[in-house]
Every structure is written in structure tokens, then in C-alpha cells.
């Protein structure tokens, strides 16, 4: 049974990637006017136009172009950048770690802060802190994250001078990199902190209401560690689900955070490529982003499959 689930998930993933490829390809067909000139925009010198026509095979019939396109994407060869002459693959993979670091830190922050907050709210329901948490968490989920980012920038960097405003820090200095991650990750992660807190709260409340828990509590068994274990066990799956689904939004948020905090990353790469009408780079960036998203979903699903039976077994033992 499990193999079937795995297979169908893989198939779905593949379908998404194929669709992404198809969409990106379709866009190149749909660009009005001469695609080479449109892609190059102001840089359309005769040499550049010839070069990009050759590179992308723009003068070939459509099926051949599609085949080439698919082949190139599958092998990860995104071509050469017209502007700088560097392989686009290098450009993308050079900035990928930054985006990953940012997304990872944001999720890590969200978990590190959201879990305790949720547990606190569940163990002290109805209190002011609980109500406040509810409102604040909704607020941060609803409000656009670039507004949050600008707000954070103003408060923490400008007024208080605590944290760096821009860039990714010096490459060899890990500590500096971490400092530069703090604000952008917070900007993206704030919404998630609240969301996770509420998830944890909800699932923990459900469990805490169970008869056997109440009995155990009445006998004085349990306490802090028990609460935490229960929370982890029960909230793990919904949290994972939420994160998996919301990763797309997270990536979107990362784009803004990268721009506002002047960080390198996939978002900045794509954005600058759009402004510079550098379509091949946009294509590569978008494709890798979708790949990232899809891979994350796969990982999340795999974690589900792994966690689920384990959790059930553990719960029964308890």
C-alpha cells in the first residue's frame, strides 16, 4: 500500500515539473513580436540576437524547440547569460544557498517560537495571553509580509541599530551571516509563528481534553515534559502539513525579504532578471524555484509516511 502512495506522489511531482516546463515554454511562444528581440530588449544588438536565437533554437519548428527545451532543463543546462557571459546554472546555484538559508531559518524560527507559544496558550486557555496570541497570530498571517518587513526594518535596524540592514554578510564569517539572516527570516517567519502556535494550541487542547490525560494529571503524573511530548506528537503532522502547503507562500515572502534587505537569492535574481529583460535567467530561476517547492513537498510527504505509523504506535504505548 505504501509503495502505491509513494509512487503516486512521485507521479504527481513529475506532473508538476512537466507542467512547469510546459508553462515556461509556452510563455516563450507567446511573447509578442520577435522573441529574441523581446528577450533582449534594449540589448538587442545583431550579435546578441543571433547568439540567443542560436542558443534557444528560436528559428527551429516548435516540436524541436520543445524537445530541446525539455532536454536542457532535464540536464540542468540553462545556457549562457547574454549579459555577463557566465553559465546561468552557476548564477542560479550561487544564490540558491542564500534562499535556502533564509527559508530554513524562517521555518526554524517559526518552530522555535511557535511551539512554546502554542503550548503556553494551550495550558493557559482563555487568559489574556491566549486571546492576544490569537489576535496577533492572525494579524501577522493576514498582513502582507513586505509591510512587516519594512516595519521591522524601520524599528530594528534604523531606530534600534541592533541588526544589519542589508546584504548577506561576509562569506567566511558564519556569525555575520547569521546576523544578517535574523531580520529577513523574522519578517517572513512572523506569520508562521502565529500560525504554528495556533495549530499546536488546537491539537494540544484536543489531546489534553482526553480522559486518560485528565486522569493522569489528577494523579499528579505528567507536567512539563509530558505536555511537550504530547504537543510534539500531536501537532507534528498538522504542522508539517501546514508548512508543506505554505512553503510556496514562504518562497513568495522570501522574494520580498530579499529585495527589501538587499540579500542575494533566487528572488533577487529573478526580480533583477525581469527588470533587465533577461528572460533566460528568469526561466531558470522560476524553474529552480518550482523544483525547490516540489522537492519540499515530497520531503514533507515522506516525513508524513514515516512519522505517522511511528506516532500512532507511540501513542498506543502511552
Amino acid at each position: 500500500m505504501r509503495l502505491g502512495v509513494v509512487a503516486s506522489r512521485l507521479a504527481a511531482t513529475l506532473a508538476v515539473l512537466v507542467a512547469a516546463m510546459a508553462l515556461l515554454f509556452a510563455l516563450t511562444l507567446a511573447i509578442p513580436g520577435d522573441p529574441a528581440a523581446a528577450m533582449l530588449g534594449p540589448r538587442a544588438t545583431p550579435e546578441a540576437t543571433a547568439s540567443i536565437t542560436r542558443q534557444m533554437g528560436l528559428d527551429q519548428p516548435v516540436p524541436i524547440r520543445l524537445w530541446r527545451f525539455a532536454g536542457l532543463l532535464a540536464t540542468g543546462d540553462f545556457g549562457t547569460d547574454i549579459v555577463s557571459g557566465r553559465p546561468i546554472r552557476d548564477m542560479v546555484f550561487e544564490v540558491l544557498p542564500f534562499t535556502l538559508a533564509l527559508a530554513g531559518t524562517a521555518i526554524g524560527l517559526a518552530l522555535a517560537l511557535g511551539f512554546p507559544a502554542g503550548i503556553h496558550a494551550a495550558t493557559h486557555p482563555g487568559r489574556i495571553s491566549d486571546r492576544l496570541l490569537a489576535l496577533v497570530s492572525v494579524a501577522f498571517v493576514a498582513v502582507p509580509n513586505f509591510v512587516v518587513a519594512i516595519g521591522l526594518l524601520l524599528v530594528f535596524s534604523l531606530r534600534l541599530r541592533w541588526l544589519p540592514v542589508q546584504g548577506a554578510g561576509e562569506t567566511d564569517d558564519l556569525l555575520d551571516q547569521v546576523r544578517h539572516l535574523a531580520l529577513p527570516a523574522l519578517a517572513i517567519g512572523l506569520g508562521w509563528i502565529g500560525y504554528i502556535a495556533r495549530l499546536v494550541r488546537a491539537s494540544l487542547l484536543e489531546v489534553l481534553g482526553q480522559p486518560y490525560i485528565r486522569t493522569a494529571r489528577a494523579f499528579g503524573i505528567g507536567g512539563f515534559r509530558l505536555t511537550w511530548k504530547l504537543a510534539l506528537r500531536n501537532a507534528a503532522i498538522p504542522t508539517l502539513a501546514a508548512l508543506g502547503v505554505g512553503f510556496g507562500r514562504l518562497l513568495g515572502g522570501a522574494v520580498f525579504a530579499e529585495i527589501i534587505f538587499a540579500r542575494p537569492g533566487l528572488g533577487t535574481l529573478i526580480f533583477q532578471a525581469i527588470r533587465a529583460r533577461n528572460y533566460p535567467v528568469v526561466q531558470a530561476g522560476v524553474f529552480v524555484t518550482v523544483l525547490l517547492f516540489v522537492a519540499t513537498n515530497l520531503v514533507v510527504d515522506a516525513l508524513f509516511l514515516w512519522l505517522d505509523p511511528r506516532l500512532r504506535a507511540e501513542a498506543e504505548r502511552l
Binding site: 504527481a12 506532473a15 508538476v16 507542467a19 512547469a20 508553462l23 515556461l24 510563455l27 516563450t28 507567446a30 511573447i31 509578442p32 490569537a134 489576535l135 492572525v138 494579524a139 498571517v141 493576514a142 498582513v143 502582507p144 513586505f146 509591510v147 519594512i150 516595519g151 524601520l154 502539513a241 501546514a242 502547503v245 512553503f247 510556496g248 507562500r249 518562497l251 513568495g252 522574494v255 520580498f256 529585495i259 529573478i270 526580480f271 532578471a273 525581469i274 527588470r275 528572460y279 528568469v282 526561466q283 522560476v286 524555484t289 518550482v290 517547492f293 516540489v294 513537498n297
Partner: protein
């Protein structure tokens, strides 16, 4: 207690309703009531602070911020309604079709939903803007496409619930066609959950448009959009924090209001919706 009654009782729901009404009032009545032209440049009056004639002050070209904010809100609401309508129509249509169609068709529709949902909407928007350039007309299909799966799945779930139900069988026995059943029974009952979704997704649309405009890829000047107002304000942050606060404030009120209202509606109408992503 009726749904409306329950909303009135919940504090956050009430807050949401108030904010939504405020925003609707601002966006719909504001442009009509304001004496200022949103594109009316008065350079000598730039960066004015709040006053009776300029409740939010003026921007870097002397234009009244309150007026621009009102027009921007109207634009955001209009865009959101258009987008949501398209997504709703498409989503409900496909979702219901999915529920009643043969399994192969249903599966392909579901895969279609998955694929669309798999694209982070901002990235999708960026890709399309890269190809076609920025513009309002581009935004509607892009955003609608990213919302569609959401509506589709809810519609499908609701419709599935009806498929085996007793009275549908009865109607069928009486010779009623599928279409009649759909329109008279299935759709009206979907209304509740769909209204919730609309309210929760509206801020998403507004945010996406504001975000794209903030990046300079959305609405062209001199049209006022909450995103462009925020961008202009950010660029002139040193001169005056007013524009950022005004634009940001409106955005916050709008998104927060609709989300709070949506959540309250959801809790009132169908708490089961909580579990849906």
C-alpha cells in the same frame, strides 16, 4: 445561534466586520466624496503633514494621500472581486464537474488543481510578467489561476457530499436532470463555505497585487495602487514616514479585516473547514 449572531458575539469577528466596513466605505465612498484629484500634482505642497484639508498629508508630488489611498483601495477591491469571481466560476465549475464526472476525468482535474497549486503564486506572476510585461489585465488571470484550486477543492468536497445523499436520489427517481439538481440543491448549499473562502482569499489577492506594484511590476503610474503608494513612501522614507504609514495602514486594515471576518464566518458556518489547507 444563527451565523450572523455568532459573528456578532465573537470579539475578533466584530472587529473584522468593523474594519471591513471601514475599508469598504473608504474605497467606495472615498473617491466620490473627496475634493482632490488623485493625480493632481501640486509640487509646492509636497510632503505636507496631516491637516484638515489633507487628512493623511501629501506625497512627494503634492497629491492628497487620503484620496490616493481611497482610489487605491477601490482598485484593490475591484481587482479582488474580479479575480475572485473568475476563480470562483472556474473553481466551482471544475470542482462540481470533478465530483460528478467519471473517475478519469475527475483525476485529471485533480491533478490539474495540484499543478496549479504547486506554483507559488508570486513566482507564477513573475514568470508571466517577464514574458508579457507588467499590467493590470495580466494580473487577473494570474491571480485567478492561483486561487482556482482552492475553490475547486472546496466545491468538490461539498458536491461529493451530495452525491450519495437521499434526496438527490429521490429527485433523480423523479426524473430531474443533473443540471437541475446542481442548481437547486448543490450550489446554494455551497454558498456558506465559499463565502468564507472569498473572505479569506480577498486579502491574498490584494496582497499579491500590492506586492507586484511595490516591486514596480504592477499598476503603472499615475494610477494609485496600495503597492505603489508604499513604494513611493519607502523611497522617500527619509523625508517623511507619512506615506508609508498611510499606505501600510490601509493595507493592514484591509487584510486584517477580511481575514478576521472570514475566520469568524468560518467558525460560524462550518468549523469543519478548519481542516482544509
Amino acid at each position: 445561534m444563527s451565523a450572523l449572531g455568532e459573528i456578532r458575539a465573537g470579539a475578533s469577528g466584530r472587529l473584522g466586520a468593523v474594519l471591513v466596513l471601514a475599508v469598504l466605505g473608504y474605497g467606495l465612498l472615498g473617491p466620490w466624496l473627496s475634493p482632490w484629484d488623485p493625480a493632481g500634482i501640486m509640487v509646492p505642497d509636497r510632503f505636507a503633514g496631516p491637516s484638515w484639508s489633507h487628512p493623511f498629508g501629501t506625497d512627494q508630488l503634492g497629491r492628497d494621500l487620503a484620496t490616493r489611498g481611497a482610489y487605491a483601495t477601490r482598485l484593490a477591491l475591484g481587482l479582488a472581486i474580479a479575480t475572485v469571481t473568475v476563480a470562483l466560476a472556474g473553481g466551482v465549475g471544475l470542482g462540481v464537474a470533478c465530483a460528478f464526472a467519471p473517475s478519469r476525468v475527475a483525476r485529471s482535474i485533480l491533478i490539474g488543481f495540484d499543478v496549479l497549486a504547486a506554483f507559488p503564486s508570486l513566482i507564477l506572476a513573475l514568470a508571466i510578467i517577464a514574458a508579457f510585461g507588467p499590467g493590470l489585465d495580466r494580473l487577473v488571470p494570474i491571480i485567478a489561476a492561483s486561487l482556482l484550486p482552492h475553490f475547486g477543492r472546496v466545491a468538490r468536497a461539498q458536491a461529493l457530499g451530495f452525491r450519495g445523499s437521499a434526496f438527490v436520489e429521490a429527485e433523480r427517481a423523479l426524473g430531474a436532470g443533473t443540471a437541475r439538481i446542481l442548481f437547486r440543491h448543490v450550489l446554494p448549499n455551497m454558498l456558506g463555505p465559499l463565502v468564507v473562502l472569498v473572505s479569506m482569499d480577498l486579502p491574498v489577492v490584494v496582497t499579491l497585487e500590492a506586492g507586484l506594484s511595490f516591486l514596480g511590476l504592477g499598476v503603472p503610474p499615475p494610477l494609485a495602487s496600495l503597492g505603489t503608494l508604499l513604494n513611493d513612501g519607502y523611497a522617500n522614507l527619509g523625508r517623511s514616514p507619512g506615506p508609508v504609514l498611510a499606505a501600510g495602514g490601509v493595507l493592514v486594515v484591509l487584510t486584517l479585516g477580511f481575514t478576521l471576518l472570514g475566520e469568524a464566518l468560518r467558525d460560524a458556518i462550518d468549523p469543519r473547514l478548519r481542516s482544509l489547507p
